[in-house]
Structures are given as structure tokens and as C-alpha cells.
């Protein structure tokens, strides 16, 4: 069957199961979009900015577990994907980006809208391709999907010249069976490592499991819970590990790290065994490496060999797919109790958080917003956040039963709104909330139009404190309150939403919180609530960058007054 390169691209996407794609047309993908009209099976979501499209594909992938697809034109279109690709790369999200490129005879000539896209995206993709012939399109796209999903997932970019899209060739799907990715299929866990791990686990008195994003990426949630329950080992999660098990699970102790809770960070520091699963000892997780978990032996399970010993020297590395490792470990281990250890951690769990949201005087405290959304949704909403203070408060105060989608590795402001759109399209059955700050929300605010265009129901909480809050917090704590460029003006968010066709309201009193959240949920369409909150509240606990994990700035006793008068207490 003779098809144009453009038609071949769609044929491949359909066969790879990509029925929803996100993108933005332009000169070098005009052939591709022309052919799209003949493929009604594909739902193309027109974003308002390529960065938005890229984060949508990312959010779609995180919510649905499928490979996200984003399309952009050459030059500026492809450059606008860069942040989104980097975000997906650092959080290991399987994605395929298809970009148009100038005619092959113009390559390297600085032609109109020509950029060396494979060069620019080399370090922020798992792999990329420059395709100049129509017959090379199908093999490249097939391999791209295979690479994106194999081993540690990640984004793959396929840059296709206009002449390759235009020319016709015989479409041969079967001939393009990908093979080279087979080199990167994870190996079975090594027998010796499993035995060593079992020995350490059997002898540990104060073990903790550190669960990261890898649990979800490997689809090992059930196995993780089974192992934790059999051995009665507390599970402490990273930010991206929050989705690994329900917050209500009795062994889930919460998040660790820079804004982790005191009881989790303390448990890690006092533990005698760390079982790290699909997490990479990021500096936001470990604090000072020299004093990190000094008494603990370490077992590190990761599918990526290059993560082993990168930050923390481990005693037993197991390089394999996490699910395979958990499945192999389960029958080898006997039931254990760890009653004293568990009750030691549980004795302080939750107290500090509860106190911080008690006071209902004066301005709304941002954690109260999160707490009320949690109460209303019973923890069952699919939460999507932007980046900053609200992101940390969301992680602390929303008790996730379903899942959290957030930008972990790159910390990309502007991620939340488009990612939530992608997430809702990936899981239309879920109630989706986006929590964003006043700063980040303005970074991709144009995607409000995409919500209306797609007829989506998402609930938007803009936590407005009038500052770029996380930077302001650092300025307060470490830069003598010199607030350089962190006070930020915002438009009337409710009016902006209304202009896009989205209903909403502003809330500035505590007693209006719950009713507003209820109205948002009950509204037939998307709904935006702007919460005007205490401007100078900081996220606690906090481990200052480079400090030891146990060396936390704790929540001031009475959140507001103490923070204002004395600054934070050690």
C-alpha cells in the first residue's frame, strides 16, 4: 500500500494505540495535519502553546499509564517542547514527540524555522531520530515507542523532514519490528543479590522502605503493599512515590525529604536498614549525604544501573524491574512484626500537621485550603499540582488515596494546568483537581481555553499569596528577608477564567472555604476558585539545602504569630 509519509505517521500512531495526541500545527507539519483529517480515529488536542501540549502529553501518560504523544512544528514549535521534554526526562515519563523539520536539502542551512532539534534535545530525551526518507518513518516511530517504554521510561523525539512527510512509499508495518531496544530490557534480578537482600531484611530491627516513582512506573503497587504487610515494614515515600500506596494504609508513614514530616525523616535517620525501591536518592530527599541514614544498611532496587552508588553508596544493589524483584522477594521472606519500631514512628505521626491547621483566625492559611479539598473529596480526587509552596503543602496535607501528578525532578512552574488537562483526558472517570500558585498559574494560563475547547470538567484551586512563595520563603529564611522580585501582581483570576468561559469565585474567609469547594465540585463545567491566603506563610518542616535530614526547621508552635515574630525555630 503506497502512502505519504504523513499518512504513515498516523497509521503508526494508531497501531501504537495513541488515540489522543496533543499538538500545534505549523509550516513543517502542515502535511501531517492535512492527513489528520482522514484519520478520525485520532483525537488531536490543539493546545495554546507547544509547552502546554507537551505537559498535557506528560499528564496524560501519568494518569493513564499510556505513552503520551505530542506534535510540534520545526524551529520555535520544537523549541517550545524543550521544557516539557526535560520535565518528562527527569521524571521518567514515556512520551513520543514528533516534530516537523525543514526539507532535507535545507538541513544545516539556517533555513526559515530550522533548528538542530535532535542536537538541542539530545540530553533531554532518552533517544531521538532525524528521519529524512518516508520509508524510515515507520521503523523510527515503532522503535521510538519501544524505547520510550523499555527499562526506565522516558521521552523520545522523532524529527521528520517535510519532504519525507510528503513523499509516498510502500507502508510496511511488519518490516519495522523494533529490535534494538531488546538490548535494554531489564535483566532478571540476580540470585546472589536477592539472597543478600533477604539476609539484611531478616536481621533488621528498624527497617524502612523508601518508595519512589519506580513503583508506579513498574506497576508494582500491589506487590509493594504485599511485601510491606508481610514484613510489617513502614513505607516512606518520595514526592513522586506518594501515588504508590493509599495514604490511609496503616504502613504508609508519608513523605520524606526537604519538606518531609519530622517523623519520616527521623525514622530514616534512625533506621538500620533502608530498602530503596525505584527512587534515586535525590538531594531533595537525602539532605547532606554525609549524615544520611548513618546507621542503615542499604538495599537499592532500580532498573537503571547508573543510579546505583550515584549519590548513596549501597550495600546490596539489585538492578532489575522492581515488580520482578518484589515478586521474587515475597516467597523468600517470612512474616515479621517490628511492633516497637512501628509504634515508635506512629506515636508522633500527624500531630504537627493537625496543629498547623487548627487556627481559624485571620487570613486563610494555605494548608487549610488543601485540608478542605481533601475533606471534601475524601482523598479520592486525582490531584495535579504546579510547583512551589502549594505543591509541598498539597503533598503534606492532602491524603492521597488515588494519586498525585506533579513535576518532581525538574520542578517546572507552569506544569500544573496543562498536565491536569492531559490527566483528565487520560482518566475521564476521575475527579481532577489542579492546585497552583498565583505565579505558576500565570505561566501557562492560556491553556484555560483548551479546557473549554475540549469540554472538560476540572476543578482549579489557585492559592494566591501574592508572592513567588517558595523563593520568598528562602529569602525570608536565608537572605535576610530581602524580597527581590518575589512579590508578584496577578490579574483577577475569576475574571480571567470568566473571559475563557470558566465559572469561578474568590474566597478570602475561612468559613467560605468548604462551600466554595463544594460549589466547584457541583458545577457542571470547570470551576476556578481563587483562595486569597496568608502572604508570608512558609512551608515547614524544612531541611535547609545541604543540611542533615534530621536537622529540620520545625513548624512554629502557633503557625502565624511565631513565624512573624521570631522567624522559624530550630
Amino acid at each position: 500500500m503506497e502512502l505519504s509519509g504523513a499518512q504513515i505517521i498516523w497509521e503508526c500512531l494508531i497501531r501504537e494505540g495513541a488515540d489522543t495526541v496533543f499538538g500545534y500545527p505549523g509550516g513543517t507539519v502542515i502535511n501531517l495535519y492535512d492527513a489528520l483529517l482522514d484519520y478520525p480515529a485520532i483525537h488531536h488536542v490543539l493546545a495554546r502553546h507547544e509547552q502546554g501540549a507537551c505537559h498535557m502529553a506528560d499528564g496524560y501518560s501519568r494518569a493513564s499509564g499510556r505513552t503520551g504523544v505530542v506534535i510540534a512544528t520545526s524551529g520555535p514549535g520544537a523549541m517550545n517542547l524543550v521544557t516539557g521534554l526535560a520535565n518528562a526526562m527527569l521524571d521518567s515519563i514515556p512520551m513520543v514527540a514528533i516534530t516537523g523539520q525543514v526539507r532535507s536539502n535545507l538541513l544545516g542551512t539556517d533555513a526559515f524555522q530550522e533548528i538542530d532539534v535532535t542536537g538541542v534535545t539530545l540530553p533531554i530525551t532518552k533517544h531521538n531520530y532525524l528521519v529524512q526518507r518516508p520509508e524510515d518513518i515507520a521503523p523510527a516511530i515503532r522503535e521510538a515507542f519501544a524505547v520510550a517504554r523499555t527499562g526506565r521510561p522516558g521521552p523520545v523525539l522523532v524529527d521528520i523532514t517535510t519532504d519525507a512527510q510528503k513523499a509516498r512509499t510502500r507502508f510496511n508495518w511488519e518490516a519495522g519490528v523494533p529490535q534494538r531496544h531488546l538490548r535494554h530490557i531489564p535483566k532478571e534480578p540476580a540470585e546472589a543479590s536477592l539472597e543478600q537482600a533477604c539476609k539484611l531484611i531478616t536481621h533488621a530491627k528498624r527497617p524502612v522502605i523508601l518508595a519512589g516513582h519506580g513503583v508506579r512506573l513498574s506497576g508494582a503497587e500491589t506487590e509493594l503493599i504485599a511485601l510491606a504487610e508481610k514484613l510489617n515494614i513502614p513505607v516512606i515515600t518520595t514526592l513522586l512515590g506518594i501515588s504508590d500506596l493509599p495514604a490511609s494504609h496503616p504502613l504508609n508513614m508519608g513523605m520524606l525529604g526537604m519538606h518531609g514530616e519530622s517523623w519520616t525523616n527521623k525514622a530514616v535517620q534512625e533506621s538500620d536498614l533502608i530498602i530503596a525501591m525505584g527512587m534515586r536518592f535525590d538531594d531533595r530527599v537525602t539532605g547532606d549525604l554525609k549524615t544520611f541514614a548513618p546507621h542503615a544498611k542499604k538495599i537499592h532496587v532500580d532498573v537503571d544501573q547508573s543510579e546505583i552508588d550515584k549519590n548513596v553508596k549501597v550495600d546490596v544493589p539489585i538492578v532489575a524491574d522492581l515488580r520482578a524483584v518484589l515478586t521474587a522477594l515475597l516467597p523468600r521472606l517470612e512474616t515479621m512484626e517490628h511492633a516497637d519500631w512501628l509504634s515508635q514512628i506512629r506515636s508522633t505521626k500527624g500531630e504537627a500537621q493537625a496543629e498547623a491547621i487548627l487556627s481559624h483566625e485571620g487570613l486563610i492559611q494555605a494548608p487549610q485550603v488543601i485540608h478542605e479539598i481533601w475533606k471534601a473529596t475524601e482523598g479520592k480526587a486525582l490531584m495535579v499540582t504546579d510547583v512551589g509552596q502549594h505543591q509541598m503543602w498539597e503533598a503534606q496535607y492532602y491524603k492521597h488515596e488515588v494519586g498525585l501528578i506533579t513535576s518532581g525532578g525538574l520542578g517546572t512552574m507552569g506544569f500544573g494546568l496543562p498536565a491536569a488537562i492531559g490527566a483528565k483526558m487520560g482518566r475521564p472517570d476521575r475527579e481532577v483537581w489542579i492546585v497552583a500558585g498565583d505565579g505558576g498559574f500565570q505561566m501557562n494560563i492560556q491553556e484555560l481555553m483548551t479546557i473549554i475547547q475540549e469540554g472538560l470538567k476540572v476543578n482549579i484551586a489557585v492559592v494566591n499569596n501574592g508572592y513567588l512563595g517558595m523563593v520568598r520563603q528562602w529569602q525570608e529564611l536565608f537572605y535576610d528577608k530581602r524580597y527581590a522580585s518575589t512579590p508578584i501582581l496577578s490579574p483577577d483570576f475569576v475574571k480571567v477564567a470568566a473571559a475563557y468561559g470558566i465559572a469561578g469565585e474568590t474566597v478570602s474567609r475561612y468559613e467560605d472555604l468548604a462551600p466554595a469547594i463544594q460549589r466547584a465540585r457541583a458545577a457542571s463545567g470547570s470551576y476556578l476558585v481563587e483562595f486569597r491566603v496568608e502572604p508570608e506563610l512558609s512551608v515547614f518542616p524544612m531541611v535547609p539545602a545541604g543540611a542533615s535530614l534530621h536537622d529540620m526547621l520545625r513548624r512554629p508552635a502557633r503557625a502565624k504569630s511565631a513565624a512573624k515574630k521570631k522567624g522559624a525555630q530550630r
Partner: protein, 177 residues
């Protein structure tokens, strides 16, 4: 210390860029890098010499293996191996001292490959140490130009080496011996 990697890659445009980019972003200085074809078409072989500590070498190895176009990596500094460099050397040589230089060259088993009125070109293969020694000896006569390939390396002995069959190669990260 210096670490020697032999890397088998797909013979495709851009692969060299991917490999060097990996070292660049981690701030490793590549001491030398050579690329050439192998006994199998479609497969290239690189010899890379990098200055780094043990952990750096271990991570570099893991990162090389992660590159999609990399088929196999051997870390030769861990095994007895042969490392060779080739140098072309233009030395100032007026006719009266030419015999003296040629005699010295013989001692290094260097070949005279070109003779001009006032200079000659020597070609010498050997370990980096041997070539450095040759350069030291020639320096007093006046070295006009040096062209050096950088290391090409191969493990000694009867291990399972070379390009392995199809795409299952990454199983043996390091040679089994």
C-alpha cells in the same frame, strides 16, 4: 587515574556526539577517543581514555550502557590489555644530522615515511609511554609537527570479545574470564 573503555556502537550519524556529550555534561575530560569500523558492518568500535576516579568510571560505564546506540562496553583498565597509539612526527633534519635521527628512530622501531630537504616524518606505534619517550628524544632536534591518534585498545587473552551476535550483547557488561 586513566580508564580505558572499548565501546561498540551502531554505525549511525550522531552516535559520537551522544557518547562525548555523556562525558561532557559530567565534566569528565576525555584524554583520547578513537573510532573505527569493526569486523561487522554497521558496528563501530570506540576506544575512549578518560581521567576519572573509580566511582566516576563505574558511572560512566553505566551511562554508556544506557545510550540506545551502544551495544556493548568493555572497561579494559580492569583487565590485562594492549593499548597502542600511533604518532606521525615531523622533525627538523638538515642533511648532516639526518643519519643520526634515523638511527635513533630505528631504536624506537619508528619508520621514516617521508624525507624533505630540511625535515623528515617518522611513524611510530606503541604504548603512550614509548611514544612519549620518542618525543623526548626528538625534541632537541626540533619537532615541527605532531599528529597522534590516541589510544586503540584490546584485551589480552582468550575471552569472548569483539562484536557479539546481534542485539543480546549487553548481557556481559564486563568480559567473563
Amino acid at each position: 587515574m586513566s580508564h580505558v573503555f572499548v565501546v561498540y556502537t551502531d554505525d549511525e550519524p550522531g552516535v559520537l556526539n551522544r557518547v562525548t556529550s555523556l562525558f561532557r555534561r559530567r565534566g569528565f575530560n576525555i584524554h583520547s577517543l578513537t573510532v573505527g569500523p569493526t569486523e561487522h558492518s554497521g558496528v563501530s568500535r570506540m576506544t575512549i581514555v578518560v581521567e576519572t576516579d573509580e566511582l566516576g568510571a563505574k558511572l560512566a560505564h553505566a551511562h554508556l550502557e544506557k545510550l540506545f546506540n551502544v551495544q556493548r562496553v568493555e572497561q579494559l583498565s580492569r583487565f590485562p590489555s594492549i593499548v597502542r597509539d600511533l604518532v606521525l612526527l615531523r622533525v627538523k633534519a638538515d642533511p648532516d644530522i639526518r643519519p643520526q635521527i634515523m638511527q635513533l628512530a630505528t631504536a624506537f622501531r619508528a619508520a621514516v615515511v617521508d624525507i624533505a630537504a630540511d625535515s623528515l616524518i617518522l611513524e611510530c606505534t606503541g604504548s603512550a609511554g614509548k611514544i612519549d619517550a620518542l618525543l623526548d628524544v626528538m625534541r632537541p632536534y626540533g619537532i615541527l609537527e605532531i599528529g597522534r591518534t590516541g589510544a586503540v585498545a584490546m584485551a589480552r587473552g582468550a575471552g569472548f570479545y569483539g562484536v557479539q551476535s546481534s542485539y543480546t550483547a549487553s548481557e556481559s557488561i564486563t568480559p567473563q574470564r
